[in-house]
Amino acid sequence: MKPFIMPGPCDIGVELIYSLVLVILCLLVYFKTKEIYELTSHKGIKYFRAAFMFFTIAYLFRFLAHIFMFYQINFGIHPRIMGLVGLLPFAFASSMAILSLAYSTLWKKLEFKKFNELYLLYFLAILITLTVFITRSALIFLATQALLFIIAIIMSYKNFKEKKKKSHFASLYTTYGLLFLFWIFNLAVFARIRYFHDTKPIFYFISALIFGFIAYKVIKTTKTK
C-alpha cells in the first residue's frame, strides 16, 4: 500500500478555488437552460442540463473531500478508507455527467420508447461506480469515463459533418474534445495519480476556461434579442 500523503494548505487552496469556480460555472449552465427546458421538454436539453447538474455534484463532492482532508475530518476512519468512501459519490456523479452528455448527442439515434432512459443511465453509472469500488482501480474509472467521452465526441463530430457549416474551432466536438482531456486529467488528480502533480495549476486554469467557454456560449445563445 502506498503511503498516504496529506496535501499542504497551498494545494488545498488551489483545489478549493478550482472546485468552487467549476461549481459556479456548471450551475450557471444548469439554471440558464431551465426556462427553455420547461418550455420545450426537449430530450437533448434535458440530458445536457443533467450533465451539468451532475458535474456540479461531482465538483461539490470534490470540494467537500478537500475540506475534509484539510481539516482532517475523518470520523475516526483512516484517511485512505475515507478517500475511498468519498470516491463513490464522486465516481457516480461524474459517470452520470458523462453518460448524460453522451446521451444528449445520441438520443435521436437511440430513442427508447418503452422506458425512461434516465434509469438506464443510473444503472450504468451504478455499475461503473461498483466496479471502481470493488476493483479499487483508478485506471478502470478513467477508461470507462474516456470511453463515454469518446462516444460523445464522435457523435458531435458526426453532427458537425452533417451540418457542413461552422468552423472546426467553434464546433462542439472540439469543445467536448478539450473538455474530455481536462476531465480525465481532473479524475487523475482526484485519483491521486501523481504524475500530473506539478502541472496541476495550469491544467486547472485551462479546464476552468473550457467550462467558462461553454457557460459563455449558453449565456450568449439563451439571451433573448
Binding site: T33, E35, I36, L39, T40, S41, H42, G44, I45, Y47, F48, S104, T105, S156, N159, F160, K163, L172, K217, V218, T221, T222, K223, T224, K225
Partner: protein, 91 residues
C-alpha cells in the same frame, strides 16, 4: 417533398395560428390550418392544454374558443432562440 416538421415546429405553428387569429380561434379551423391529422392534432392539443400554453374559453352562446396563455406567448417569443440553442449544442 417538404421535410416532416418536428415536435417543436408543430407546437410553434399551432401557437402562431392562434396568435394570428387575434388570439381567439375555434378548434375546427385550428385543426384545418395546422395541417395535421385529427389524431395528431388531438395529441398536440392535449399536450398544449396540459403544459398550459393554451386555454379554452366558452362564450355566452356556449361556443368554445382557444386562446394563448402567457406561457404560450413566451414560447412564440423564444422559439428562434430555442432553435439556436439546440443547433449550437447539437442536441
Amino acid at each position: 417533398m417538404a421535410k416532416k416538421r418536428d415536435r417543436l415546429e408543430v407546437v410553434y405553428d399551432i401557437l402562431k395560428i392562434i396568435r394570428n387569429h387575434n388570439n381567439s380561434i375555434k378548434p375546427t379551423p385550428l385543426l384545418r390550418y395546422s395541417n395535421l391529422s385529427s389524431q395528431s392534432f388531438a395529441e398536440y392539443y392535449k399536450e398544449l392544454i396540459k403544459k398550459e400554453f393554451v386555454k379554452e374559453i366558452v362564450d355566452k352562446k356556449g361556443k368554445k374558443f382557444i386562446t394563448l396563455t402567457d406561457k404560450g406567448f413566451r414560447y412564440l417569443e423564444k422559439y428562434k432562440m430555442i432553435l439556436g440553442f439546440i443547433g449550437e449544442f447539437e442536441l
